[in-house]
Amino acid sequence: MTTVVPLNIENVDTDQIIPARFLKAVERKGFGDNLFRDWRYDKDGQPVAGFPLNEGKYKGEILVAAKNFGCGSSREHAAWAIFDYGFRVVVSSFFADIFKNNALNNGLLPIQVSEEFLQKIFAAVEADPAARFEVDLENQTFTICATGDKTGFDIDGYKKECLLNGYDDVDYLLSIKGEIEGFEQARR
């Protein structure tokens, strides 16, 4: 169970998530500092009051955004930035394809819910910023704890296993080492 950070904006594109000028790094490090850079900070580098990430009352590992999240450029840095900031789940009523894949390949779970359910989440967190929510990846459900409202979500079976175990493809293959060795034995 965790609280959420609401971002009730539609069509959040990857240029907003991480502006192009921050893509020059050659290592996959530090992108979280520049997540939503131009919404978070003004031109003098001062935090913009009212932006959800700057409001102390919103915290948590789940980012909830309005529909068509992650559209625009295919930059994987967008998923890296959201993950690096500390989010592990993004909830929206629609994700751009490329972003969705990039997220899954980087340990970030995109949960697509109905527009109606999304509005219930926004309503719950507006009523109580400390409202709690539950993500059950195993059973593929998302629950608003205060109301008990629950919804299911879809995920590719293999990617689910990777996320549940915090694996990438190499980690996954290493996790079935015993099975691979068994396969080798059986062929001898």
């Binding site: 190499v170 293959l173 099975e179």
Partner: protein, 467 residues
């Protein structure tokens, strides 16, 4: 329903089938070279791992090696660094490494089969698209990316969706002077450079059965040039005869047992392919490409097609290709001036190719306007050529046998065709700039290359050599 050859080999290597269509595919043989492996080795090191099955991994330096003076230090510091780091990575992981100067060094897809590492029924991968070459033995062999190289290093497995199947049947009898390269260039010209996308091809029919192993390798090598994941041919007596006695081939009772299993590797009569094509050998003549992708090929006596009937981006790219080549629709290819001839690569760098070229030019002279690079695919090919006296035949005709490597096929080393110059090349890609910035490549088989080398222009080998 029966199974295709591809299904039989693939299914026998699935360790686990995942939701969503991916398979965990077990890899029997992993070939590596100096260019696509360094980042995978780095990734492995960062995970604190070593290569899981070094004995199933074979390393050779090929893409980035010089093809003269291989006994001297490599001049280019970046190339030298890459070769040194490759040697170090292999040593640290206990992988047998055929570096520069090693008697077994050569182009990875030539070294594997000649040492008997490549065998029927295997799964074979390499960080190189022409890994499809090994399909000639009835192996499922395909090129992979660097992140996948890391997967194989770590686990000897790879995560892959299963491709669809395609059968290409070539029936009839090949005419005189028509080589395996002409067959595959013809096929690609018919189904286009993207006609095989998403598929794994099985080559079949009377013509394919009649090919030698080396010719079959030439055909499978080019499967990737029609976009296919790979190509394969059912193993038969020709295959077994080639493999038997090679260094890493099974021996004694093991051999008999292996052959027994290999004899089951064919497509069942009732097997269904997702796509089928049939071609007639009588329609195939010596081929030459006129454009900038391997699908832009034509019979050597023909005329360059026009953009009529093409529209949109197809027309734009066709016109752009002809402009790059300096050719016009309706022109004949025969008689066009040639500046360079390259014989070599994983497509046509084997002993039969060198024999074919040497026999053709024997007793003739290289045309004065031609610069020719004859590059054997491996030291074993080079040694065999010298043993057979091919080097002398070549020298008498004004040609020099160089040292093994990928050479002008991708021009990563110093063997670059200068801008604007015309090259008849036995390699596999005629992309813009592939053989050097601005270079104009015409793909062909060894006989068309020989005809160009002695006449200085595009010529029909059947006429030049009275075939």
């Amino acid at each position: 329903m029966g199974k295709t050859l591809f299904d039989k080999v693939w299914d026998a290597h699935v360790v686990r089938q995942l939701d969503g269509g991916r398979s965990v595919l077990y890899i029997d043989r992993h070939y590596i070279h100096e260019v696509t492996s360094p980042v995978a080795f780095l990734g492995l090191r960062n995970r604190g791992l070593k290569v899981a099955r070094p004995a199933q991994t074979t390393a050779t330096a090929d893409h980035n090696v010089p093809t003269i003076n291989q006994h001297l230090p490599v001049e280019d510091p970046q190339s030298r660094g890459q070769l040194e780091s490759f040697a170090r990575n292999c040593a640290e992981n206990g992988i047998e490494h055929f570096g520069l100067g090693h008697p077994k060094q050569g182009v990875v897809h030539i070294v594997g089969p000649e040492l008997g590492f490549t065998q029927p029924g295997m799964t074979i991968v390499c960080g190189d698209s022409h890994t499809s070459t090994h399909g000639a033995f009835g192996a499922v062999a395909f090129g992979i990316g660097t992140s996948e190289v890391e997967m194989v290093f770590a686990s000897q497995c790879i995560l892959q969706p299963k491709p669809r199947t395609m059968r290409i049947t070539v029936d009839g009898k090949l005419g005189k002077g028509v080589t395996a390269k002409d067959v595959v260039l013809y096929i690609i010209s018919k189904i286009s450079a993207s006609g095989g996308t998403g598929h794994f091809i099985e080559f079949a029919g009377e013509v394919i059965r009649s090919l030698s192993m080396e010719e079959r390798m030439t055909v499978c090598n080019m499967s990737i040039e029609c976009g296919a994941r790979g190509g394969m041919i059912a193993p038969d007596q020709t295959t077994f005869d080639y493999v038997q006695g090679r260094e890493h081939a099974p021996k004694g009772a093991e051999w008999d047992k292996a052959v027994e299993g290999w004899k089951k590797l064919y497509s069942d009569p009732d097997a269904k392919f997702d796509k089928e094509y049939t071609f007639d050998a009588a329609d195939i003549e010596p081929m030459i490409t006129y454009g900038t992708n391997p699908g832009m090929g034509m019979g050597i006596t023909g005329t360059i097609p026009s953009d009529e009937g093409l529209s949109g981006s197809d027309k734009v790219s066709f016109d752009k290709a002809l402009e790059y080549m300096g050719f016009k629709s309706g022109e004949k290819m025969i008689g066009k001036k040639v500046d360079y001839v390259f014989v070599g690569s994983c497509t046509n760098g084997r002993i039969e190719d060198l024999r074919q070229f040497a026999q053709a030019v024997k007793g003739r002279r290289k045309a004065d306007n031609i610069t020719a690079w004859i590059v054997p695919g491996s030291h074993m090919v080079e040694n065999l050529a010298r043993e057979e006296g091919l080097d002398k035949i070549l020298a008498e005709a004004g040609f020099e046998l160089r040292q093994p490597g990928c050479s002008a096929c991708l021009a990563m080393n110093a063997d670059k065709i200068p801008a604007g110059k015309y090259s008849v090349s036995t390699s596999n890609r005629n992309f813009e700039g592939r053989q050097g910035p601005g270079a104009r490549t015409m793909l062909a088989g060894p006989l068309v290359a020989a005809a160009a080398a002695v006449t200085g222009q595009i010529a029909d080998p059947r006429e030049v050599f009275n075939l």
